[in-house]
Protein backbone atom coordinates (compact mmCIF):
# COMPACT_ATOMS: atom_id res chain seq x y z
CA UNK A 1 0.00 0.00 0.00
CA UNK A 2 2.65 2.42 1.07
CA UNK A 3 4.87 1.58 -1.86
CA UNK A 4 2.03 1.98 -4.32
CA UNK A 5 1.23 5.40 -3.01
CA UNK A 6 4.77 6.58 -3.49
CA UNK A 7 5.00 5.22 -6.98
CA UNK A 8 1.64 6.58 -7.97
CA UNK A 9 1.98 10.13 -6.77
CA UNK A 10 5.59 11.14 -6.53
CA UNK A 11 5.68 14.78 -7.55
CA UNK A 12 2.99 16.43 -5.50
CA UNK A 13 4.19 16.22 -1.96
CA UNK A 14 7.57 17.39 -3.21
CA UNK A 15 6.08 20.43 -4.94
CA UNK A 16 8.43 23.42 -4.86
CA UNK A 17 7.66 26.01 -2.22
CA UNK A 18 7.42 28.88 -4.70
CA UNK A 19 4.43 27.36 -6.46
CA UNK A 20 1.37 29.54 -6.43
CA UNK A 21 -0.38 29.65 -3.07
CA UNK A 22 -4.12 29.12 -3.44
CA UNK A 23 -5.16 29.13 0.21
CA UNK A 24 -3.35 30.95 2.98
CA UNK A 25 -4.80 30.83 6.49
CA UNK A 26 -3.12 32.53 9.44
CA UNK A 27 -4.31 32.75 13.03
CA UNK A 28 -7.89 31.80 12.14
CA UNK A 29 -10.15 31.90 15.17
CA UNK A 30 -13.83 31.16 15.49
CA UNK A 31 -15.87 31.59 18.60
CA UNK A 32 -19.52 30.62 19.04
CA UNK A 33 -20.82 32.36 22.13
CA UNK A 34 -18.22 31.51 24.73
CA UNK A 35 -16.88 28.44 22.95
CA UNK A 36 -13.69 28.71 20.91
CA UNK A 37 -13.97 26.23 18.08
CA UNK A 38 -10.94 27.39 16.13
CA UNK A 39 -8.02 28.77 18.09
CA UNK A 40 -5.43 29.88 15.61
CA UNK A 41 -5.64 27.62 12.58
CA UNK A 42 -2.74 28.00 10.13
CA UNK A 43 -2.16 26.29 6.81
CA UNK A 44 -1.57 26.90 3.14
CA UNK A 45 -2.49 25.07 -0.04
CA UNK A 46 -0.55 25.18 -3.28
CA UNK A 47 -1.97 25.00 -6.77
CA UNK A 48 -2.99 21.49 -7.78
CA UNK A 49 -2.75 19.97 -4.31
CA UNK A 50 -5.34 17.65 -2.82
CA UNK A 51 -5.61 18.65 0.82
CA UNK A 52 -7.61 16.61 3.28
CA UNK A 53 -8.77 18.21 6.49
CA UNK A 54 -9.15 15.41 8.99
CA UNK A 55 -10.47 15.59 12.50
CA UNK A 56 -12.93 14.19 15.00
CA UNK A 57 -16.56 15.26 14.87
CA UNK A 58 -17.01 18.74 16.23
CA UNK A 59 -13.39 19.73 15.65
CA UNK A 60 -14.42 22.60 13.38
CA UNK A 61 -13.78 21.11 9.95
CA UNK A 62 -17.07 22.35 8.53
CA UNK A 63 -16.62 25.74 10.17
CA UNK A 64 -13.17 26.06 8.61
CA UNK A 65 -14.29 25.10 5.13
CA UNK A 66 -17.34 27.37 5.31
CA UNK A 67 -15.16 30.32 6.28
CA UNK A 68 -12.98 29.63 3.26
CA UNK A 69 -16.05 29.34 1.02
CA UNK A 70 -17.24 32.74 2.19
CA UNK A 71 -20.36 31.23 3.75
CA UNK A 72 -19.45 32.10 7.32
CA UNK A 73 -17.81 35.09 8.99
CA UNK A 74 -14.74 34.40 11.10
CA UNK A 75 -14.02 35.85 14.54
CA UNK A 76 -10.38 36.68 13.85
CA UNK A 77 -7.38 35.89 11.73
CA UNK A 78 -6.29 36.33 8.14
CA UNK A 79 -7.69 34.23 5.35
CA UNK A 80 -6.73 34.45 1.73
CA UNK A 81 -8.41 32.29 -0.91
CA UNK A 82 -7.29 32.79 -4.52
CA UNK A 83 -5.86 36.13 -3.48
CA UNK A 84 -9.13 37.38 -1.94
CA UNK A 85 -10.48 37.58 1.59
CA UNK A 86 -13.60 35.33 1.45
CA UNK A 87 -15.48 37.80 3.66
CA UNK A 88 -15.15 40.31 0.80
CA UNK A 89 -15.35 37.85 -2.08
CA UNK A 90 -17.43 39.12 -5.01
CA UNK A 91 -19.18 37.13 -7.72
CA UNK A 92 -16.07 37.13 -9.93
CA UNK A 93 -14.22 35.40 -7.10
CA UNK A 94 -17.15 33.08 -6.50
CA UNK A 95 -16.99 32.01 -10.18
CA UNK A 96 -13.47 30.64 -9.63
CA UNK A 97 -14.59 28.38 -6.77
CA UNK A 98 -16.47 25.13 -6.79
CA UNK A 99 -18.46 24.09 -3.75
CA UNK A 100 -19.69 20.53 -3.46
CA UNK A 101 -22.78 20.61 -1.30
CA UNK A 102 -24.42 17.59 0.20
CA UNK A 103 -27.68 17.73 -1.60
CA UNK A 104 -30.77 16.29 -0.12
CA UNK A 105 -33.92 16.89 -2.08
CA UNK A 106 -33.41 20.21 -3.84
CA UNK A 107 -34.25 20.50 -7.55
CA UNK A 108 -35.96 17.11 -7.43
CA UNK A 109 -38.11 17.92 -10.45
CA UNK A 110 -35.11 18.83 -12.62
CA UNK A 111 -33.33 16.46 -14.93
CA UNK A 112 -29.60 15.92 -14.55
CA UNK A 113 -28.50 17.47 -17.84
CA UNK A 114 -31.05 20.26 -17.58
CA UNK A 115 -29.82 21.35 -14.15
CA UNK A 116 -26.13 21.21 -15.03
CA UNK A 117 -26.79 23.15 -18.20
CA UNK A 118 -28.75 25.80 -16.31
CA UNK A 119 -26.26 26.21 -13.47
CA UNK A 120 -23.34 26.26 -15.91
CA UNK A 121 -24.70 29.27 -17.74
CA UNK A 122 -24.14 31.50 -14.70
CA UNK A 123 -20.41 31.02 -15.31
CA UNK A 124 -20.47 32.11 -18.95
CA UNK A 125 -19.72 35.79 -18.21
CA UNK A 126 -16.60 34.68 -16.34
CA UNK A 127 -15.01 32.64 -19.11
CA UNK A 128 -11.49 33.60 -20.19
CA UNK A 129 -9.45 32.36 -23.17
CA UNK A 130 -7.28 30.27 -20.80
CA UNK A 131 -10.25 29.01 -18.84
CA UNK A 132 -13.37 28.27 -20.88
CA UNK A 133 -16.39 28.29 -18.58
CA UNK A 134 -18.58 26.42 -17.99
CA UNK A 135 -17.54 22.82 -18.50
CA UNK A 136 -19.09 20.97 -21.42
CA UNK A 137 -22.14 19.42 -19.79
CA UNK A 138 -22.04 16.05 -21.53
CA UNK A 139 -18.32 15.68 -20.97
CA UNK A 140 -18.83 16.37 -17.28
CA UNK A 141 -21.76 13.98 -17.02
CA UNK A 142 -19.56 11.33 -18.60
CA UNK A 143 -16.73 12.12 -16.19
CA UNK A 144 -18.83 11.65 -13.07
CA UNK A 145 -20.43 8.53 -14.51
CA UNK A 146 -24.00 9.74 -14.88
CA UNK A 147 -24.33 9.31 -18.64
CA UNK A 148 -27.12 6.81 -18.27
CA UNK A 149 -29.01 9.06 -15.87
CA UNK A 150 -28.55 12.30 -17.86
CA UNK A 151 -32.24 12.62 -18.68
CA UNK A 152 -33.60 11.33 -15.39
CA UNK A 153 -35.24 13.49 -12.81
CA UNK A 154 -33.13 14.05 -9.70
CA UNK A 155 -35.82 12.45 -7.55
CA UNK A 156 -35.11 9.11 -9.25
CA UNK A 157 -31.35 9.11 -8.54
CA UNK A 158 -29.82 6.87 -5.90
CA UNK A 159 -27.87 8.43 -3.04
CA UNK A 160 -24.55 7.70 -4.73
CA UNK A 161 -25.72 9.08 -8.06
CA UNK A 162 -27.01 12.18 -6.38
CA UNK A 163 -23.67 12.74 -4.70
CA UNK A 164 -21.88 12.37 -8.03
CA UNK A 165 -24.20 15.03 -9.37
CA UNK A 166 -23.22 17.21 -6.40
CA UNK A 167 -19.61 16.84 -7.47
CA UNK A 168 -20.54 17.67 -11.07
CA UNK A 169 -22.33 20.82 -9.91
CA UNK A 170 -19.23 21.78 -7.94
CA UNK A 171 -17.16 21.35 -11.09
CA UNK A 172 -19.48 22.90 -13.67
CA UNK A 173 -17.77 26.30 -13.57
CA UNK A 174 -14.34 24.69 -14.08
CA UNK A 175 -13.14 25.88 -10.67
CA UNK A 176 -9.56 26.62 -9.77
CA UNK A 177 -10.34 25.52 -6.24
CA UNK A 178 -12.86 22.91 -5.20
CA UNK A 179 -14.28 22.55 -1.68
CA UNK A 180 -15.94 19.35 -0.52
CA UNK A 181 -17.32 18.85 2.97
CA UNK A 182 -17.66 15.16 3.86
CA UNK A 183 -18.20 14.30 0.20
CA UNK A 184 -18.35 10.53 0.57
CA UNK A 185 -20.53 10.37 3.68
CA UNK A 186 -23.24 7.78 3.14
CA UNK A 187 -21.56 6.13 0.15
CA UNK A 188 -21.57 2.38 -0.19
CA UNK A 189 -18.11 0.86 -0.81
CA UNK A 190 -18.55 0.79 -4.58
CA UNK A 191 -19.70 4.40 -4.77
CA UNK A 192 -16.84 5.37 -2.47
CA UNK A 193 -14.33 3.70 -4.76
CA UNK A 194 -15.78 5.45 -7.82
CA UNK A 195 -15.67 8.73 -6.00
CA UNK A 196 -12.02 8.28 -5.08
CA UNK A 197 -11.19 7.51 -8.72
CA UNK A 198 -13.02 10.67 -9.72
CA UNK A 199 -11.02 12.82 -7.31
CA UNK A 200 -7.77 11.29 -8.57
CA UNK A 201 -8.69 11.98 -12.18
CA UNK A 202 -9.52 15.58 -11.31
CA UNK A 203 -6.28 16.30 -9.58
CA UNK A 204 -4.22 14.47 -12.17
CA UNK A 205 -5.66 15.93 -15.36
CA UNK A 206 -6.60 19.41 -14.29
CA UNK A 207 -4.83 21.94 -12.21
CA UNK A 208 -7.65 21.93 -9.72
CA UNK A 209 -6.75 22.44 -6.08
CA UNK A 210 -9.01 20.41 -3.82
CA UNK A 211 -9.76 20.86 -0.13
CA UNK A 212 -11.98 18.23 1.38
CA UNK A 213 -12.97 17.29 4.90
CA UNK A 214 -13.54 13.82 6.23
CA UNK A 215 -13.39 11.87 9.43
CA UNK A 216 -12.57 8.74 7.48
CA UNK A 217 -8.86 7.93 7.82
CA UNK A 218 -8.84 5.46 5.00
CA UNK A 219 -10.31 8.04 2.68
CA UNK A 220 -7.78 10.66 3.77
CA UNK A 221 -4.94 8.26 3.11
CA UNK A 222 -6.25 7.37 -0.35
CA UNK A 223 -6.94 10.88 -1.57
CA UNK A 224 -4.59 13.30 0.12
CA UNK A 225 -1.38 14.75 -1.15
CA UNK A 226 -1.26 16.32 2.25
CA UNK A 227 -3.29 15.70 5.39
CA UNK A 228 -4.14 18.36 7.93
CA UNK A 229 -5.35 17.10 11.28
CA UNK A 230 -7.61 19.51 13.11
CA UNK A 231 -8.01 18.89 16.83
CA UNK A 232 -8.49 21.11 19.84
CA UNK A 233 -8.94 24.13 17.57
CA UNK A 234 -5.52 23.83 15.96
CA UNK A 235 -3.93 22.11 13.02
CA UNK A 236 -1.94 19.54 15.00
CA UNK A 237 -0.35 17.79 12.05
CA UNK A 238 0.43 18.70 8.46
CA UNK A 239 2.04 16.27 6.03
CA UNK A 240 1.55 13.23 3.81
CA UNK A 241 0.10 10.08 5.37
CA UNK A 242 3.53 8.45 5.40
CA UNK A 243 5.27 11.45 6.85
CA UNK A 244 2.70 11.68 9.63
CA UNK A 245 3.03 8.02 10.49
CA UNK A 246 6.83 8.19 10.59
CA UNK A 247 6.89 11.41 12.51
CA UNK A 248 4.74 10.26 15.39
CA UNK A 249 6.10 6.80 15.74
CA UNK A 250 9.45 6.03 14.20
CA UNK A 251 9.36 2.55 15.65
CA UNK A 252 7.93 -0.50 13.97
CA UNK A 253 6.56 -3.48 15.77
CA UNK A 254 7.95 -6.94 14.93
CA UNK A 255 6.00 -10.04 15.93
CA UNK A 256 7.07 -13.62 15.46
CA UNK A 257 6.81 -16.99 17.07
CA UNK A 258 9.46 -19.64 17.80
CA UNK A 259 8.73 -23.07 19.09
CA UNK A 260 5.10 -22.17 19.80
CA UNK A 261 6.04 -19.10 21.84
CA UNK A 262 5.03 -15.59 20.64
CA UNK A 263 7.32 -12.57 20.73
CA UNK A 264 6.89 -8.83 20.18
CA UNK A 265 9.69 -6.34 19.76
CA UNK A 266 9.62 -2.63 19.01
CA UNK A 267 12.49 -1.29 16.94
CA UNK A 268 13.49 1.74 14.90
CA UNK A 269 15.20 -0.43 12.29
CA UNK A 270 12.92 -3.35 11.56
CA UNK A 271 14.85 -4.54 8.52
CA UNK A 272 18.07 -4.97 10.46
CA UNK A 273 16.31 -6.59 13.39
CA UNK A 274 14.62 -9.16 11.17
CA UNK A 275 17.88 -9.92 9.38
CA UNK A 276 19.55 -10.61 12.72
CA UNK A 277 16.56 -12.63 13.86
CA UNK A 278 16.92 -14.96 10.89
CA UNK A 279 20.69 -15.10 11.24
CA UNK A 280 20.25 -16.27 14.80
CA UNK A 281 17.27 -18.64 14.56
CA UNK A 282 16.89 -19.39 10.86
CA UNK A 283 14.03 -21.73 10.11
CA UNK A 284 12.71 -21.66 13.67
CA UNK A 285 11.19 -18.25 13.10
CA UNK A 286 7.50 -18.44 12.16
CA UNK A 287 4.49 -16.13 11.80
CA UNK A 288 6.69 -13.10 11.15
CA UNK A 289 4.85 -9.80 11.01
CA UNK A 290 6.29 -6.28 10.76
CA UNK A 291 3.87 -3.52 11.47
CA UNK A 292 4.68 0.13 10.97
CA UNK A 293 2.55 2.77 12.68
CA UNK A 294 -0.52 3.36 10.52
CA UNK A 295 -2.23 6.64 9.91
CA UNK A 296 -4.82 5.47 12.37
CA UNK A 297 -2.23 5.02 15.12
CA UNK A 298 -0.85 8.45 14.36
CA UNK A 299 -4.25 10.01 14.27
CA UNK A 300 -5.39 8.46 17.52
CA UNK A 301 -2.18 9.46 19.24
CA UNK A 302 -2.39 13.07 18.01
CA UNK A 303 -6.06 13.56 18.67
CA UNK A 304 -5.78 12.00 22.08
CA UNK A 305 -2.85 14.21 22.96
CA UNK A 306 -4.66 17.37 21.90
CA UNK A 307 -8.03 16.58 23.32
CA UNK A 308 -6.94 15.22 26.66
CA UNK A 309 -5.46 18.55 27.64
CA UNK A 310 -1.79 17.59 27.23
CA UNK A 311 -1.85 20.03 24.45
CA UNK A 312 1.38 21.32 23.08
CA UNK A 313 1.51 24.26 20.72
CA UNK A 314 3.96 22.37 18.60
CA UNK A 315 2.69 21.47 15.15
CA UNK A 316 4.02 18.35 13.57
CA UNK A 317 5.15 19.98 10.37
CA UNK A 318 7.26 18.23 7.85
Amino acid sequence: MTVMRELGKPARSAAPADEETVIDVRGLRMRYGSVDVLRGVEFTARRGEVLVLLGPNGAGKTTTIEILEGFRMRSAGEVDVLGVDPAQGDERWRARLGVVLQSWRDHHKWRVRELLHHLGRYYEPYATPECPRPYDVDELIEKVGLAEQADQRLSTLSGGQRRRLDVAIGLIGRPELLFMDEPAAGFDPKARRDFHDLVHSLSDLEDTTILLTTHDLDEAEKLADRILILAGGHIVADGSADQLARRVSAEAEVRWSRGGEHFVHATADATRFVRELFAQYGEDVAELEVRRATLEDTYMALVHRHESGHESEEVVSL
Binding site: F71, H107, K109, L119, Y122, E124, I169
Partner: protein
Protein backbone atom coordinates in the same frame (compact mmCIF):
# COMPACT_ATOMS: atom_id res chain seq x y z
CA UNK B 1 -25.91 46.59 -13.23
CA UNK B 2 -23.12 44.50 -14.55
CA UNK B 3 -23.70 42.35 -17.59
CA UNK B 4 -23.31 39.22 -15.44
CA UNK B 5 -26.23 40.35 -13.27
CA UNK B 6 -28.34 41.09 -16.35
CA UNK B 7 -27.56 37.67 -17.78
CA UNK B 8 -28.35 36.02 -14.41
CA UNK B 9 -31.73 37.79 -14.37
CA UNK B 10 -32.41 36.46 -17.84
CA UNK B 11 -31.43 32.99 -16.66
CA UNK B 12 -33.84 33.51 -13.77
CA UNK B 13 -36.72 34.09 -16.19
CA UNK B 14 -35.79 30.92 -18.10
CA UNK B 15 -35.59 29.05 -14.84
CA UNK B 16 -38.93 30.40 -13.65
CA UNK B 17 -40.70 29.33 -16.85
CA UNK B 18 -39.14 25.88 -16.63
CA UNK B 19 -40.09 25.44 -12.96
CA UNK B 20 -43.64 26.56 -13.66
CA UNK B 21 -43.82 24.01 -16.45
CA UNK B 22 -42.51 21.39 -14.02
CA UNK B 23 -45.31 22.11 -11.54
CA UNK B 24 -47.84 21.67 -14.35
CA UNK B 25 -46.53 18.22 -15.22
CA UNK B 26 -46.08 17.05 -11.63
CA UNK B 27 -49.38 15.34 -10.78
CA UNK B 28 -49.16 15.91 -7.02
CA UNK B 29 -48.63 19.66 -7.32
CA UNK B 30 -51.18 20.07 -10.04
CA UNK B 31 -53.64 18.18 -7.87
CA UNK B 32 -53.23 20.59 -4.93
CA UNK B 33 -53.48 23.68 -7.11
CA UNK B 34 -56.63 22.33 -8.71
CA UNK B 35 -58.11 21.07 -5.44
CA UNK B 36 -58.01 24.49 -3.76
CA UNK B 37 -59.45 26.23 -6.77
CA UNK B 38 -62.11 23.59 -7.34
CA UNK B 39 -63.16 24.36 -3.76
CA UNK B 40 -63.81 27.98 -4.77
CA UNK B 41 -65.71 26.84 -7.83
CA UNK B 42 -67.91 24.66 -5.59
CA UNK B 43 -68.73 27.68 -3.46
CA UNK B 44 -69.83 29.48 -6.61
CA UNK B 45 -71.83 26.45 -7.70
CA UNK B 46 -73.87 26.42 -4.52
CA UNK B 47 -74.37 30.17 -4.69
CA UNK B 48 -75.44 30.30 -8.33
CA UNK B 49 -79.20 30.20 -7.73
CA UNK B 50 -79.33 32.41 -4.67
CA UNK B 51 -79.99 35.93 -5.65
CA UNK B 52 -79.25 39.11 -3.76
CA UNK B 53 -81.01 42.27 -4.92
CA UNK B 54 -81.64 40.85 -8.36
CA UNK B 55 -78.22 39.41 -9.16
CA UNK B 56 -76.84 35.94 -8.51
CA UNK B 57 -74.79 35.66 -5.32
CA UNK B 58 -72.15 33.77 -7.28
CA UNK B 59 -71.73 36.79 -9.55
CA UNK B 60 -71.00 38.96 -6.50
CA UNK B 61 -68.61 36.43 -4.95
CA UNK B 62 -66.48 35.55 -7.98
CA UNK B 63 -64.59 38.87 -8.22
CA UNK B 64 -63.92 38.82 -4.47
CA UNK B 65 -62.53 35.29 -4.72
CA UNK B 66 -60.20 36.46 -7.48
CA UNK B 67 -58.93 39.25 -5.23
CA UNK B 68 -58.40 36.81 -2.37
CA UNK B 69 -56.59 34.37 -4.68
CA UNK B 70 -54.09 37.10 -5.58
CA UNK B 71 -53.27 37.67 -1.90
CA UNK B 72 -52.95 33.96 -1.17
CA UNK B 73 -50.86 33.33 -4.26
CA UNK B 74 -48.53 36.21 -3.50
CA UNK B 75 -48.09 35.99 0.27
CA UNK B 76 -48.52 32.32 0.94
CA UNK B 77 -46.95 31.25 -2.33
CA UNK B 78 -43.79 33.24 -1.62
CA UNK B 79 -43.55 32.13 2.01
CA UNK B 80 -43.90 28.53 1.00
CA UNK B 81 -41.40 28.72 -1.83
CA UNK B 82 -38.74 30.43 0.22
CA UNK B 83 -39.17 28.27 3.32
CA UNK B 84 -39.12 25.08 1.25
CA UNK B 85 -36.07 26.14 -0.68
CA UNK B 86 -34.19 27.13 2.43
CA UNK B 87 -35.01 23.78 3.95
CA UNK B 88 -34.13 21.60 0.96
CA UNK B 89 -30.92 23.41 0.01
CA UNK B 90 -32.02 25.03 -3.25
CA UNK B 91 -31.11 28.41 -1.83
CA UNK B 92 -27.68 27.33 -0.67
CA UNK B 93 -27.02 26.01 -4.17
CA UNK B 94 -27.98 29.37 -5.60
CA UNK B 95 -25.62 31.04 -3.16
CA UNK B 96 -22.70 28.85 -4.23
CA UNK B 97 -22.76 29.98 -7.84
CA UNK B 98 -21.96 33.46 -9.18
CA UNK B 99 -25.09 35.67 -9.24
CA UNK B 100 -27.07 32.56 -8.41
CA UNK B 101 -29.20 34.47 -5.90
CA UNK B 102 -30.27 37.00 -8.52
CA UNK B 103 -31.30 34.22 -10.87
CA UNK B 104 -33.06 32.38 -8.07
CA UNK B 105 -35.13 35.36 -6.95
CA UNK B 106 -36.15 36.39 -10.46
CA UNK B 107 -37.15 32.77 -11.12
CA UNK B 108 -39.31 32.61 -8.02
CA UNK B 109 -41.04 35.89 -8.88
CA UNK B 110 -41.88 34.39 -12.25
CA UNK B 111 -43.06 31.07 -10.77
CA UNK B 112 -45.19 32.65 -8.04
CA UNK B 113 -46.78 35.12 -10.43
CA UNK B 114 -47.56 32.46 -13.03
CA UNK B 115 -48.89 30.07 -10.40
CA UNK B 116 -51.18 32.80 -9.06
CA UNK B 117 -52.43 33.66 -12.54
CA UNK B 118 -52.94 29.97 -13.28
CA UNK B 119 -55.01 29.58 -10.10
CA UNK B 120 -57.11 32.58 -11.06
CA UNK B 121 -57.77 31.21 -14.53
CA UNK B 122 -58.77 27.86 -13.03
CA UNK B 123 -61.43 29.62 -10.92
CA UNK B 124 -62.41 32.21 -13.49
CA UNK B 125 -63.15 29.97 -16.47
CA UNK B 126 -65.67 27.61 -14.81
CA UNK B 127 -66.90 30.56 -12.75
CA UNK B 128 -67.77 32.49 -15.91
CA UNK B 129 -69.75 29.53 -17.20
CA UNK B 130 -71.62 29.20 -13.92
CA UNK B 131 -72.68 32.82 -13.75
CA UNK B 132 -73.04 33.26 -17.50
CA UNK B 133 -70.34 35.92 -17.74
CA UNK B 134 -70.06 39.45 -16.34
CA UNK B 135 -72.59 41.31 -18.50
CA UNK B 136 -71.31 44.75 -17.55
CA UNK B 137 -67.57 44.11 -17.95
CA UNK B 138 -65.86 45.57 -21.03
CA UNK B 139 -62.27 45.46 -22.22
CA UNK B 140 -61.30 48.37 -19.97
CA UNK B 141 -62.70 46.54 -16.95
CA UNK B 142 -60.62 43.45 -17.70
CA UNK B 143 -57.60 45.72 -17.96
CA UNK B 144 -58.41 46.95 -14.47
CA UNK B 145 -58.53 43.30 -13.31
CA UNK B 146 -55.01 42.90 -14.67
CA UNK B 147 -53.90 46.09 -12.92
CA UNK B 148 -55.33 44.94 -9.58
CA UNK B 149 -53.62 41.57 -10.09
CA UNK B 150 -50.20 43.16 -10.65
CA UNK B 151 -50.60 45.61 -7.80
CA UNK B 152 -51.86 42.79 -5.56
CA UNK B 153 -48.80 40.66 -6.28
CA UNK B 154 -46.52 43.61 -5.58
CA UNK B 155 -48.34 44.25 -2.30
CA UNK B 156 -48.23 40.66 -1.04
CA UNK B 157 -45.32 38.78 -2.62
CA UNK B 158 -42.49 40.71 -0.90
CA UNK B 159 -44.17 40.10 2.46
CA UNK B 160 -44.34 36.40 1.72
CA UNK B 161 -40.62 36.45 1.01
CA UNK B 162 -39.96 38.30 4.26
CA UNK B 163 -41.95 35.75 6.29
CA UNK B 164 -40.33 32.89 4.37
CA UNK B 165 -36.91 34.27 5.34
CA UNK B 166 -37.65 33.98 9.04
CA UNK B 167 -39.58 30.75 9.48
CA UNK B 168 -37.72 27.61 10.48
CA UNK B 169 -39.51 25.22 8.14
CA UNK B 170 -42.02 25.12 5.32
CA UNK B 171 -44.61 23.77 7.75
CA UNK B 172 -44.06 26.69 10.11
CA UNK B 173 -44.36 29.03 7.14
CA UNK B 174 -47.69 27.51 6.21
CA UNK B 175 -49.02 27.84 9.76
CA UNK B 176 -47.81 31.39 10.02
CA UNK B 177 -49.49 32.53 6.81
CA UNK B 178 -52.49 30.30 6.19
CA UNK B 179 -54.45 30.81 9.42
CA UNK B 180 -53.91 34.57 9.68
CA UNK B 181 -54.83 34.95 6.02
CA UNK B 182 -58.03 32.96 6.61
CA UNK B 183 -58.80 35.24 9.54
CA UNK B 184 -58.32 38.32 7.41
CA UNK B 185 -60.40 36.82 4.60
CA UNK B 186 -63.23 36.25 7.07
CA UNK B 187 -63.47 39.97 7.82
CA UNK B 188 -62.60 41.30 4.37
CA UNK B 189 -65.96 41.03 2.65
CA UNK B 190 -64.98 38.18 0.37
CA UNK B 191 -67.91 35.83 0.89
CA UNK B 192 -70.38 38.38 2.23
CA UNK B 193 -70.50 42.19 2.22
CA UNK B 194 -68.10 43.86 4.66
CA UNK B 195 -70.84 46.31 5.61
CA UNK B 196 -72.52 43.48 7.52
CA UNK B 197 -69.64 43.53 10.04
CA UNK B 198 -69.10 45.66 13.14
CA UNK B 199 -67.47 48.99 12.44
CA UNK B 200 -64.18 48.20 14.21
CA UNK B 201 -63.80 44.93 12.27
CA UNK B 202 -64.31 46.86 9.06
CA UNK B 203 -61.51 49.15 10.18
CA UNK B 204 -59.16 46.22 10.85
CA UNK B 205 -59.96 44.62 7.49
CA UNK B 206 -59.21 47.84 5.64
CA UNK B 207 -55.66 47.87 6.99
CA UNK B 208 -54.87 44.73 4.95
CA UNK B 209 -54.64 44.22 1.17
CA UNK B 210 -57.26 41.47 0.89
CA UNK B 211 -60.29 43.73 1.31
CA UNK B 212 -58.92 46.19 -1.23
CA UNK B 213 -58.05 43.45 -3.72
CA UNK B 214 -61.63 42.14 -3.49
CA UNK B 215 -62.97 45.67 -3.84
CA UNK B 216 -60.78 46.35 -6.88
CA UNK B 217 -61.96 43.19 -8.60
CA UNK B 218 -65.60 43.95 -7.79
CA UNK B 219 -65.19 47.50 -9.09
CA UNK B 220 -63.92 46.11 -12.38
CA UNK B 221 -66.36 43.29 -12.96
CA UNK B 222 -69.67 44.08 -11.25
CA UNK B 223 -72.42 46.34 -12.56
CA UNK B 224 -72.47 49.85 -11.09
CA UNK B 225 -75.60 49.06 -9.07
CA UNK B 226 -73.59 46.64 -6.91
CA UNK B 227 -71.75 49.58 -5.35
CA UNK B 228 -74.69 49.90 -2.96
CA UNK B 229 -73.26 47.07 -0.83
CA UNK B 230 -69.85 48.76 -0.43
CA UNK B 231 -68.63 51.05 2.33
CA UNK B 232 -69.76 54.58 1.54
CA UNK B 233 -71.52 53.29 -1.60
CA UNK B 234 -68.29 53.92 -3.49
CA UNK B 235 -65.69 51.79 -5.31
CA UNK B 236 -63.04 53.98 -3.64
CA UNK B 237 -60.42 53.40 -6.32
CA UNK B 238 -57.97 55.99 -5.09
CA UNK B 239 -57.78 54.60 -1.52
CA UNK B 240 -57.59 51.10 -3.05
CA UNK B 241 -54.55 52.01 -5.12
CA UNK B 242 -53.12 53.95 -2.17
CA UNK B 243 -53.33 51.13 0.38
CA UNK B 244 -51.97 48.52 -2.03
CA UNK B 245 -49.18 50.90 -3.05
CA UNK B 246 -48.17 51.45 0.57
CA UNK B 247 -48.01 47.68 1.20
CA UNK B 248 -45.96 47.32 -1.99
CA UNK B 249 -43.52 50.08 -1.22
CA UNK B 250 -42.93 49.07 2.38
CA UNK B 251 -42.59 45.40 1.42
CA UNK B 252 -40.27 46.11 -1.48
CA UNK B 253 -38.08 48.37 0.62
CA UNK B 254 -37.71 45.88 3.49
CA UNK B 255 -37.49 42.64 1.49
CA UNK B 256 -34.04 43.10 -0.12
CA UNK B 257 -32.21 43.62 3.15
CA UNK B 258 -34.12 40.80 4.85
CA UNK B 259 -33.31 38.50 1.95
CA UNK B 260 -29.66 39.53 1.97
CA UNK B 261 -29.44 38.87 5.68
CA UNK B 262 -31.13 35.50 5.28
CA UNK B 263 -28.85 34.55 2.38
CA UNK B 264 -25.75 35.56 4.33
CA UNK B 265 -26.71 33.16 7.09
CA UNK B 266 -27.29 30.19 4.80
CA UNK B 267 -24.55 27.59 5.07
CA UNK B 268 -24.09 23.87 4.78
CA UNK B 269 -24.21 23.54 8.54
CA UNK B 270 -27.57 25.31 8.93
CA UNK B 271 -28.91 23.29 6.02
CA UNK B 272 -27.75 20.09 7.68
CA UNK B 273 -29.52 21.05 10.90
CA UNK B 274 -32.76 21.66 9.04
CA UNK B 275 -32.39 18.39 7.20
CA UNK B 276 -31.93 16.50 10.43
CA UNK B 277 -34.90 18.25 11.99
CA UNK B 278 -37.04 17.42 8.98
CA UNK B 279 -35.93 13.79 8.91
CA UNK B 280 -36.65 13.63 12.62
CA UNK B 281 -40.15 14.93 12.01
CA UNK B 282 -40.54 12.29 9.36
CA UNK B 283 -41.42 14.40 6.31
Amino acid sequence: MSSAVVSASRLGVTRGLLEFKQTLVTPAELFWTLLINVGYVLVLYFQRNRSVEGSSLALLTLPSILGMAVAFGGAQGATNVLATHREDGTLLRAKAIPNGMVGYLVAQLVVISLTTVFGIVVVLVPGLFLIGGFPSAGAGDWLLVLGVLVLGLLATLPWGMIIGSFVKSAAAGFGLTFLPLCGIVAISGIFYPITALAGWLQGVAQAFPIYWLGLGMRAALLPDSAVAAEIGQSWRQVPMIGVLAVWSLVGLSIAPSVLRRMARKESGATMQERKERALHRGY
